[in-house]
């Protein structure tokens, strides 16, 4: 099992190195195939691990394998180790499975791009980093994977680096993630100081003995990292901008895997969160607020990818809600289902964008249903799954979380329940607004002038079509793995690692499902009323929503302008007089002194003779005085 786990981790890394080293010696398509096949092989290895694990008894499913001692500092040791347990295998399967599908899709989507090799090298780097994150055997390697996925995200968002907007978005993503990285690092410092180790078992065992202050600080630090990585309030502003990257990147990194790392972190370190329940409740509150706010903002977005991005933000809010109230397995279930249907939506949107020659504004689209029927069906499946319609995957996954809020049976849970139900209404509304505007109605003028063109060659057509089809099947049937209280393989699988804190009763499940589906249908209905049947005019978008609740402006004022002002002041006081003055000033002074001395060389004999005479006079004076 360990061998397979290591293989799974290292195959994508080998692919990155290979593509980088071979450079221009291989064709662009070959680079794509290397990346795709390595991801596929990693998936196969993950399946092997899974099968092996199934054959063992539930108590025996956790194994840590250390390659070597990576860091030894006195009593503090950190080894390069990977942890193979039900939770990490769950994530490995999702990452490599959905990942290899998306990399295969990129074969077609990025075909013809000049920098294709760089793209596939980065994608393999990302897969490796994400695997390192989920397989990391101790908190330090989790953090290393965490940082590396941030790096891969930066590299891939700014992939088309000639575009200033892409570069700015990449920087924004990286810097906001760095804030999260910093809080996590601070939490880890505390852990090292108080427990002397970063290994999971040691930390969780000793955590009970720590003071409440320390626990709250550690949990807050971890939450900060999770919030940054998963684009939740208040560190959510980078995710919409990250749509500057290519569409497969948005699908893989900013929908299926990286942004879910925050949820994974909370589930993995849930013993620490359970010891600081206020922080865990804060996580739930943040998730709830995010799901509402993101849902509202998605109502007014005009870029197809931004709608889906805000939808991602909203759905991760549901996952945070689940993890925050202790329904860990439900949150992971939604993570899996969300990976399927969100990747499906993104890749389908990618097909639309590709076909329309790069256009992303939904106001310019319309009536694509007749022109691209297969894409329409795939997106419909994805949209229905997202809105939580039975019997698709979203229904099972989301409703389990909503039911868990009822399972808490206290006022906090009921408030969260109400918010979550409101969220389902919003989800249905914005999803089908997008679908009806893009695919429904008449063909817009733009579409008539730029009819969707056929794929360039068979490979492109097959790579994009087949992967989307597979994801559609997964989005449709992937939810049938767990159903309410009746059949719970996922909860049972994860029980050794993350025992749920709440379990909803059958009745609560029923209430939750009925309400969710009802409100979801209501949202779809309103969308149909306004955008499809055109029975009512679309209301004007509120400025608050259009400006995304002014978060960007707020951060601009809070951080950017003060930093600029401070740097101006420092430039004026420190850079000018002190740095320039000392370094440049020394050089300047030397030059000027040289100039002065140069003046002494007049070239006139009389002056030199005078110097002699004057020197002589002084010397004699000295001799007279001394004697």
């Amino acid at each position: 099992m360990n061998a397979a786990a290591w293989t799974c981790l290292l195959l994508p890394l080998a692919s990155t190195v290979l593509i980088t080293v071979l450079g221009g010696a291989i064709s662009r398509r070959t680079a794509g195939w290397i990346s795709t096949l390595s991801s596929g092989a990693a998936f196969a290895a993950a399946v092997v691990v899974f099968v092996e694990m199934l054959s063992r008894s539930p108590e025996d499913r956790s194994e840590t394998s250390t390659a070597y001692n990576w860091l030894v500092a006195g009593n503090f040791k950190v080894g390069f180790s990977i942890l193979t347990d039900p939770l990490s295998v769950f994530m490995m399967l999702i990452v490599t499975g959905v990942g290899s599908l998306i990399v295969a899709y990129s074969l077609g989507y990025m075909d013809g791009d000049d920098e294709e090799r760089r793209y596939f090298a980065y994608m393999s780097l990302f897969v490796f980093s994400m695997l390192l994150l989920v397989q990391g055997g101790n908190l330090l390697f989790l953090l290393i994977g965490w940082g590396l996925v941030g790096l891969s995200s930066y590299l891939l968002i700014g992939f088309w680096h000639e575009r200033p907007s892409a570069v700015a978005a990449a920087k924004k993503a990286f810097i906001m993630n760095a804030v999260g990285d910093a809080t996590m690092a601070l939490a880890f410092f505390l852990l090292i100081q108080k427990t002397g180790s970063l290994d999971f078992e040691v930390v969780f065992a000793k955590a009970g003995g720590l003071s409440q202050t320390v626990l709250v600080l550690v949990a807050l630090g971890l939450l900060g990292g999770a919030v940054a990585k998963s684009a939740q309030l208040p560190l959510q502003t980078w995710l919409p901008d990250a749509m500057e990257g290519p569409t497969p990147v948005s699908a893989l990194i900013h929908a299926a895997t990286m942004v879910t790392a925050g949820v994974y972190l909370i589930v993995r370190t849930h013993p620490l969160f359970e010891l600081a329940p206020n922080v865990q409740d804060t996580a739930a509150v943040l998730g709830t607020l995010t799901l509402l706010i993101a849902g509202l903002i998605a109502l007014v977005q005009t870029d197809i990818k931004r709608v889906i991005a805000y939808s991602t933000m909203s759905q991760i809010g549901y996952m945070f809600l689940g993890a925050g109230i202790g329904a860990y397995a439900n949150a992971m279930f939604l993570l899996m289902a969300h990976a399927f249907f969100k990747a499906l939506l993104f890749l389908g949107a990618g097909i639309v964008i590709h076909a329309l020659g790069g256009e992303q504004d939904i106001r310019k689209m319309g009536g694509l249903r007749k022109l691209m029927p297969k894409t329409w069906w795939a997106m419909l499946v994805g949209g229905l799954a997202l809105a939580g319609m039975p019997p698709l995957s979203g229904f099972f996954a989301k409703d389990s979380i909503i039911a868990a809020t009822l399972g808490r049976e206290d006022w906090f849970g009921y408030v969260l329940f109400a918010a979550a139900i409101a969220g389902t209404f919003l989800t249905g509304l914005y999803t089908f607004r997008m679908l009806f505007v893009v695919f429904g109605g008449e063909q817009s003028a733009y579409v008539r002038e730029h009819p969707p063109h056929a794929a360039r060659d068979r490979l492109v057509e097959w790579s994009m079509g087949l992967t989307v089809a597979v994801l559609a099947v997964l989005a449709a049937f992937g939810g049938w793995i767990q159903f309410a209280n009746v059949w719970t393989p996922i909860t049972d699988w994860l029980r050794p690692v993350a025992e749920p804190l709440v379990e909803a009763t059958g009745g609560q499940e029923a209430i939750a499902s009925i309400c969710a589906v009802a409100f979801g249908l209501a949202g779809i209905g309103v969308a149909w009323w306004i955008y499809s049947a055109r029975r009512a005019a679309a209301p004007r978008a509120w400025a608050v929503l259009e400006h995304k609740f002014y978060f960007d402006e707020l951060y601009n004022g809070l951080f950017y302008w003060p930093a600029v002002a401070l740097s101006r002041v420092l430039d004026w006081t420190v850079e000018g007089p002190i740095v320039n003055g000392s370094i440049v000033g020394v050089a300047d002074l030397t030059r000027r002194a040289g100039g002065w001395f140069r003046e002494l060389q007049t070239g006139l004999v009389r002056v030199y003779a005078f110097a002699l005479a004057a020197g002589l006079a002084v010397l004699i004076l000295v001799f007279i005085a001394v004697r």
């Binding site: 007049t602 070239g603 006139l604 009389r606 002056v607 005078f610 005479a613 004057a614 002589l616 006079a617 004699i620 004076l621 007279i624 004697r627």
Partner: protein, 188 residues
Amino acid sequence: MIVASAGNVLVWAVWVAAAFACLGSGVAVISFSNPFYSALALIGNLGSLAVLYLLLSAEFVAAAQVLVYAGAVMVMFLFVIAYLGGKADTPWTGQLPAQTIAAIVASAALLVEIVIVIAGQADGHLSKAAEITDAFGSPSQIGQLFLTDQLLAFELISVVLLVAAVGGVILGSHSREQSPVETDDARA
């Protein structure tokens, strides 16, 4: 210092005359604007110096001074001055430039310092002059010194004179075509 006696008075009178002539001609050399007059003043200077040498019992040197210095060297000077002629700069007219004033100050300082040292009897070494014989400063004594104790100096002097002669010939020859030398616009 002052010892009054008849021979003494004569010596004193001659000394005063020669000394003042010496000093006056010296100042004249550096003051005239016409080089010819400066050369003539220098000849006067050399003559008065010869008198002073006589007072110091250096007869041979005095004779050599008149013969060689005043007679040969100065004549050569006069030849060249007559050949080149021209008017020299006028040192004492108009506003004295800063460099001139500085030069005057430096020279005055030098003079003052040397006078102080001499007046302070140079650590007592200048207290009393030694007694001399009649043969002191005579050609025979000079000749003896040149050919015995100071033979090396004698030979070296002849070498120096030879080198100077050769150099003079080379400098004066027309044979080589030399590129014109550039002069810079010097500061005044």
